[in-house]
Amino acid sequence: MGLKLNTRFRHTIVNVICWIYALLFTYASMSKLLDFQNFRIQLGQSPLISSFADWVSIVIPAIEFIIVILLLATRFRSIGLIATYTLMVMFTTYIYIILNYSTFVPCSCGGILEKMTWKQHLTFNIVFVILAGVSIVLIPRKHVLTTK
């Protein structure tokens, strides 16, 4: 009985996190694609990956979009969560390098995140990395095996 409740509780947490992520990535990829020209200019001006702005500007929204599908299709949820976790680690590393190692600090990202400073952005990202990590740990074994 206790175990069952626990499983249900874990299930709920994972569900909620997946939905939050699905929303976040939908928003993030859409806002990039809707203002693609501007997004590419911003990447080109990024002190970190300016030389790769061309393909990064397409690959990032594409990955975000695929992750949303993976998270929503319960069958691929664990792959989706691992991808989410990796992508968030990458974003976080990106911000960390900008703050500590780059030769200048550019003006920030688009969308709602524009209002945040880079430090707040870093905290925001770390929280999300932890959320993804937690959900990977919590995702019930059964869930992984379920074919729906």
Binding site: I49, T86, F104, R141
Partner: protein, 366 residues
Amino acid sequence: MNIRIKIVVLLISSIFGIGVVIYLFKQSEKITHYQNRFIRRFPPHVAQEISQTDLKFNSYYFAGHGNGNIYLGNITAPLQILALDIALKENHVYTIELKEKDLAFRAPQIRVFKNNFYVFEGHVPYVYKGSIDNWIASKRKNSGYYFAHFEPMDSVEMVTRYIMPKSGENLIGSLNLRDTTEVHYEQHLLEKQFDGVFDTDGSLHFNKELQRVVYVYRYRNEYIVAHKNLELDYRGNTIDTISIAHVKLVRLKNSTQKTFAEPPLVVNKTSAVDSNLLYVNSGLPGNYEDENLWKAASIVDVYDLTNGTYRSSFPIYNINGETMKSMLVVGQFLYALIGEKIVSYKLLEPINQDKKASEYSGMVDG
């Protein structure tokens, strides 16, 4: 998945994610500075306008700097020199007196170098030299090849761009004011692409700090760095992709003269050198740039002459729709002639883009 496998997966994902971003960062930095694919870097606020002065005329050009002053010559008043202090607050007008007045006078120009000044005209060709203490000049040379550019390297040795008789081709050479009989020029510094006249056009500078002659081509993405004796040091590239001059010429009817068949593609409009840096006002927008910025400003690209690398770019804003005509860099100040105005910009250390942002003094940005 049991918990142990999950932890391993998390660890691998973390290492992979961090590794990829660090790798991209290192590669991107290397490409930006050493093999730039025409992606400019605009660090925020590295060039800030600090003052603006109305000169009342748009016919001024930079004649040089020294002793805390910058000197402007005026095409329509060829023997007048306007000295402005570095803050552009105070000015003095001096009138140059030439001891010998027997020469044909078309459009002489002035250069000020340390305590001397030079009045020259390439089409006659003559050179006068005098001291800025009294602004009186005497004739030092009035024969030899025609020349079109002239920059002092020290008090007697000048670097020039000669125009070869007959062919009209450009050659970089030097001119010694003590021994005016000897003409020294270097055949292979300028590289001909089709006519050796238009395709080799550009601007000539002498960099005092590095003791190097610098020539920036106008119609291709190249600059030449040479020693004082005109021996080639190296050829550098500007970040755009135009390696072959795009200039089409037609011969005028009943004349030997040629003119442009279509507007030529100007790659490097105007340039300046100071300490280890080369400043080039480019004519070509790069990838992922804001069009509006190009409508509102002239873009200056910065190169490090000691290693031929691209460092960064910054805008010099138009004034009343007028774009920058020429520029002069003295230490951390850049002066630009824009219409009838002269403006000064303060250049901050991050134009070098060689350190972490936190290590530049006084640059904290959100």
